[in-house]
Symmetry: C2
Subunit: 180 residues, 2 copies
């Protein structure tokens, strides 16, 4: 039946640089100077005053938030190459911000047009995925997943162990194509 191995790839913080945009909006609106370094080992809400927690969620619901996200360096090239050897699915937990479904779908269509829409999955619990590998920055999703989890480095997960860790798409390329 299925001969090629299947890789699922998370979107936010793996393909799309959401944290940069999130910092940008917060720093702009509150004249703050937070950087990725301030987020080491933490989630964003842990480094802002409690009254600002709500605004962090609100940014995600802004109509243009997902549309303007930058593509992670090398992700387009490496995914296009990986697709020659693996079945690639994008798996994103859009359910946490339901209004983001269409924006995320359009973003993928624009920046990763070579990924067929049938290979895009919106799911809140990645234990549902039947795949060999999952590349994700969220250790909770990797723990739920039933294949081999690969941790994509992000400020909030610096203390997480137990998974192969990749820091960028060049390392993903080496991991999956260096072995062939």
């Amino acid at each position: 039946m299925r001969t090629r191995k299947r890789i699922c790839v998370d979107m936010d913080e793996v393909m799309a640089d959401a944290i940069t945009e999130h910092l940008l909006r917060y720093n702009r609106d509150y004249a703050a100077n937070l950087t990725k370094e301030d987020l080491q080992g933490k989630r964003f809400w842990q480094v802002v005053p409690e009254p600002h927690h709500e605004i962090l969620d609100a940014y995600l619901r802004e109509e243009d938030f997902f549309a303007v996200l930058e593509v992670m360096p090398d992700s387009q090239r490496v995914l296009a190459t990986l697709q020659q050897h693996y079945d690639i699915f994008i798996a994103t937990a859009a359910m946490e911000v339901p209004t983001s479904f269409n924006a995320k779908f359009q973003w993928l269509k624009q920046h990763f047009p070579f990924i067929p829409y049938t290979h895009i999955v919106f799911c809140g619990d990645k234990s549902i995925l039947r795949a060999d590998y999952l590349i994700d920055d969220n250790p909770r999703q990797l723990a739920a997943f039933h294949g081999t989890g690969i941790l994509y480095h992000a400020p909030h997960n610096v203390d997480v162990t137990g998974y192969a860790r990749v820091h960028n798409w060049q390392e993903i390329e080496a991991l999956f194509l260096g072995k062939l």
Copy 2:
């Protein structure tokens, strides 16, 4: 790890009566009298004149289409009961009509509030699902699925064989709970 069996359930024509609404809109706009009987063994587009094919797709993109769909009889009660013995995930191929993501999500929230949002999956290719059972009216999705497929009866699939066929939610209840 996982002890309870997992059932994935398709939405359109299994939980939501899309075909009745589709017929209603077409009959209204073209003074036609098509019924479910006219659709035996066929897809909707096969029973209307070629110039009308596009309007059938357009109905699905109308903002209120998915919002007004009737719930299939007994589906709420049976799913709530099944949930006591099985892990239930909803798996719907919303990618074919991307604008339907949010409408489908809201419809599920309204009519099946007991299903957590983490157990809703939007996917165009159901081979990605890791589950024991899939209840679906689409034989193409059942063929792709890697567990036991259960065919939910619909006019277009009357000629399909090779799967246990259920005609309504009472039969689903008997199939899954009669055995316990």
